[in-house]
Amino acid sequence: MSIDEELWEISLRSLRVTLTALLIASIIAIPLGTYLAVQRFRCRRFVISIINALMGLPPVVVGLVVYIMLSRSGPFGVLNLLFTPTAMIIAQVIIITPVIASIAHQSMRELWAEYHDLLISLNTSKWQRILTLIHDGRRNLLTAALAGFGRAIGEVGAIMIVGGNIDHVSRVLTTAIALETGKGDFVLAMGLGFVLIGISILVNLAIHTLTRTEREGRW
């Protein structure tokens, strides 16, 4: 495989792992964050504090825990998921869900404060409230998702452990950079780094353009 083909392969794999993790994490985090904003229950403040605290989880620790879970000698060993991109996706979902949930919760809370009286007056159900908030607050939710993306695309500790950085199987941009840095090939590592930054900028720009379109009322 030529260098270009290899670069293409690991870049696509990076995107595949991170975007899949982002999708799954958002599906969990956004309704969760919104629900926490509208529903009052006894341990609500505790749950919110836990989620905020989980944002500070060191990714390497998450990687270790996921490794122990997925190891053949571990509880989920039968699934044979270790050292595959799927394991990497699992680890990244665990890492970024609290981030997205926390930011989503923050903006949903503000929006709920704004809409509160009106939605109660209109006799909306809990579910209708959540859907309305998510719909009207979608720009801020996109920002939350972007934050999750940023965390995931640059992550290396967890996916190194659970993915194994296996050539042609689980090697992505960040783990490749770590490998080349360790070998002392700084030039290649920097090059890969620029590709990573480039991808990140592209994704951010794409999201930014989408939200700006919405502001003109075309959504």
Binding site: E114, D117, G217
Partner: protein, 234 residues
């Protein structure tokens, strides 16, 4: 369509942070017309309205509707709450909640946009409207589900004369068409213009309640007399 009345409040009290904000209040509202609630700032007008609508938690006492169907009330807040959507979408929202078919929604939205004169702004963001336009939109949105009762909390408090006139005209039409209005206001002239009967609230208690003209020309309490004179009453 006012089978929901009479509305009976008995011994209603609302407390906030240890202070009694409203009550005890005993009040029976009849089936027809427009009731205006007046009183100085902090007398509990907003709280009373919210209690009647059912969005305020009552500590003591009860609110009894003859035939309560919460979907048949609507509320217009002092500062209109605009959804972060277009004008037309704001209007359509209450109907969407009821899963009304789309063509019916479009008809209703077109009708009301014309009536409040916002047809040209239908595709713009509601948050970009002026204060008067927002309030008109809020009233139209409240009326789009054809409620039996419309509660309004000082709807023209922050508006200029022109906008106030437009709103009063709209409310006049609406009242004539049979909708029961219960409205708080600061503007004594407005009260006189629109009311059938008036509630005078002071320090969270009903001081006087009765048909508009006798109340204004011959108030029975000293406080109301002072209030009508323009004194600060507390």
């Amino acid at each position: 369509m006012t089978a929901a009345f009479p509305l009976i409040l008995s011994g209603v009290q609302v407390r906030r942070q240890g202070k009694t904000v409203l009550g005890p209040v005993d009040l029976t509202l009849s089936a027809n017309g427009t009731t205006i609630i007046v009183g100085p700032n902090g007398s509990g007008k907003t709280t009373l309205l919210r209690v009647m609508h059912g969005i305020e938690r009552i500590r003591v006492g009860g609110v009894v509707w003859e035939n309560d169907d919460p979907a048949k009330h609507a509320f217009v807040f002092q500062t209109p709450i605009m959804l972060r959507r277009t004008v037309a979408e704001n209007l359509a929202y209450p109907l969407m909640l009821l899963k009304t078919p789309k063509d019916q929604i479009d008809l209703a939205v077109d009708h009301w946009l014309g009536r409040i004169g916002l047809d040209s702004s239908r595709g713009g963001q509601a948050t970009r409207l002026s204060g008067g336009e927002r309030q008109k939109l809020a009233i139209a949105r409240a009326l789009i589900r054809k409620p039996d009762v419309l509660f309004l909390d000082e709807p023209s408090a922050n508006l200029d004369g022109h906008a106030t006139r437009e709103i009063e005209a709209l409310l006049h039409e609406v009242a004539n068409a049979g909708t029961r209005l219960v409205m708080a206001t600061h503007d004594m002239g407005q009260a006189r213009r629109l009311a059938n009967d008036v509630v005078f609230l002071l320090n969270g208690r009903v001081h006087e309640y009765g048909p508009v003209e006798p109340l204004f020309t011959t108030p029975s309490t000293l406080e109301l007399m002072a209030f009508l004179r323009g004194d600060i009453v507390s």
